[in-house]
């Protein structure tokens, strides 16, 4: 379903992603793990047509997202690391807007919105503004929205960041249910190793822009002779801390928070 060959991205002198290759089969849940700044989000951005790769090829369900952009975009859904909802509209309106953007015909749209909002336990709150939602509810809404156009692939970039264990468990349960019901391929990144261990069929670990290991959780543990995925992760990526510089975007986010109160 996802085929990546020699994918590379450089920003000036800095190489964020260094010729990575991997494949994800249909219906598989694939976890992409790595320390901060390892190249996870850059990879997702390239897979989802937001960044142009410097070199290498990508195929999503047989489509090259560079050339057949529309076809590729129709086939995936994405939940970004940062929220991407319209706070000034209701949950239901956000769903409708997404449905229109992805050309979901009216009748199916109405039916599927109801179905998904019930699955993700948001139906009762459908007429509330998103700005009144808690972090967990926003995440659920974003994921429900990502499934709306029946994508073949769903990208989840750190979807559980900042959620309490209850919300995290519930969220993965919902994702798993739809993954099984609709055979949707799921590509996820997370910093919670226990989640990846529990949810993912296969795991790739990326560090400094290169994939250092991939396989099932059991294979990774065997390879590194550790008894937990966290142990395997640390064995593969080392224990040094990564610098993650604050850029103008972070400053802006702070400013925006003050603005909106």
């Amino acid at each position: 379903m996802i085929q990546v060959e020699n994918l590379t991205k450089t920003f000036g002198q800095f190489t964020a992603v260094k010729g990575i290759s991997f494949q994800v089969q249909q219906g598989e849940i694939f976890a992409f793990l790595g320390p901060n700044g390892a190249g996870k989000t850059t990879t997702i951005k390239m897979l989802t047509t937001l960044l142009r790769p410097t070199a290498g090829t990508i195929l999503l369900d047989g489509f090259n997202p560079l050339v057949q952009q529309k076809e590729a975009r129709q086939r995936f859904g994405i939940v970004f690391q940062d929220p991407s909802l319209d706070n000034e509209q209701t949950a239901y309106e956000n769903m409708v807007l997404h449905g229109v953007l992805y050309h979901v015909p009216g009748k199916i749209r109405t039916q599927r919105i109801e179905e998904l909002m019930k699955t993700f336990e948001l139906w009762e709150k459908r007429n509330d503004y998103v700005k009144t939602f808690s972090g967990g509810m926003r995440r659920r809404l974003e994921i429900a929205r990502g499934f709306l156009h029946t994508p073949k692939i769903l990208f989840l970039d750190e979807p559980t960041l900042g959620l309490d264990p209850q919300s995290r468990n519930q969220l993965w349960a919902h994702v798993k249910r739809i993954n099984e019901a609709e055979n949707t391929t799921v590509f996820l990144t997370t910093h919670y190793m226990d989640e990846a261990d529990r949810v993912a069929d296969r795991i790739a670990i990326i560090d400094h822009g290169a994939i250092v290991a991939q396989g099932t959780s059991a294979e990774l543990k065997a390879q590194t002779e550790t008894d937990s995925l966290e142990g395997a992760f640390l064995a593969l990526t080392g224990t040094s801390l990564r610098e993650d510089g604050a850029d103008s975007k972070d400053q802006m986010r702070q400013f925006a928070r003050v603005w909106r109160r």
Partner: protein, 248 residues
């Protein structure tokens, strides 16, 4: 078509729902109208210019449409920061459709604002030459809204942060307003100021409004309309190009 409509509708909903903002954004032009309109009135009349309120009301309408439409474009900055822009940019629709939907939405909001301030002008005592002039003036309101909403979209595509926003407001939008002849007649100005004012897009919009509403022209109907149309096409093109190049 559905895509353009739903994005247009979004801009409109945002506007209608933020009632505080509607009042706030009408406050400034109303203040100009009342404080300057009545304040400068006696001086203007003594200088032989007639009623200052009559003179400046079309300028204030132009100003309202200018601020409202540019701001709606630059508000893209917030969509960028709150992430909603990404949601539209990864959707399987062309950037052009997104840009057109947003820009038309912003223009529509600006047109509504312009109409509201016209009503305030009428309440304050402004009287057009003919009542038939109002629908014709509406045409100019539409043109000003489209020109500057497109300019706002172009700017919003380039600006990344709040500093850029301040820069645009102080060094572009305010000069466009002050040099448009909204507050003073464009005739008999120093030569340099004449050149600058003739290069100001809003000058043609304000002149059109004033000409239609009270019959005082600096340029002419044909010239105003022609220049605004050319500018609309140019800014829409630039906006579409810059919007299509946004990378996140």
């Amino acid at each position: 078509m559905g895509v353009i409509y739903i994005l247009w509708l979004r801009e409109l909903k945002r506007y209608v729902r933020s009632r505080v903002q509607i009042v706030a954004s009408l406050g400034q032009p109303a203040l100009y109208l009342l404080a300057l309109g009545f304040g400068f009135g006696p001086v203007f009349a003594r200088a032989g210019g007639g009623s200052y309120l009559q003179f400046m009301a079309p300028g204030v309408i132009g100003m309202t449409v200018l601020f409202s439409s540019v701001f709606s474009g630059i508000a893209m900055l917030f969509d960028r920061q709150f992430g909603f822009l990404k949601e539209t940019l990864v959707a399987p629709v062309s950037r052009l459709q997104i840009m057109v939907g947003r820009t038309l939405g912003g223009a529509t909001v600006a047109i509504i604002q312009g109409c509201l301030i016209l009503i305030i002008c009428l309440i304050a005592g402004f009287r057009p030459a003919h009542w038939i002039a109002i629908p014709v003036a509406f045409l100019f309101v539409i043109m000003i809204a489209i020109v500057f909403a497109a300019m706002g979209t172009a700017l919003g595509s380039v600006i990344q942060d709040m500093q850029g926003f301040q820069l645009v407001m102080n060094f572009l939008v305010l000069p466009i307003f002050f040099l448009s002849g909204a507050l003073y007649p464009l005739s008999n100005l120093p030569r340099v100021l004449t050149w600058i004012t003739h290069g100001d897009p809003l000058a043609y919009g304000v002149d059109g409004l004033r000409g239609v509403l009270i019959g005082t022209w600096h340029f002419s109907f044909a010239m105003d309309m022609l220049l605004l149309s050319i500018l609309a096409v140019a800014f829409l093109g630039t906006g579409a190009y810059l919007f299509s190049r946004i990378e996140l």
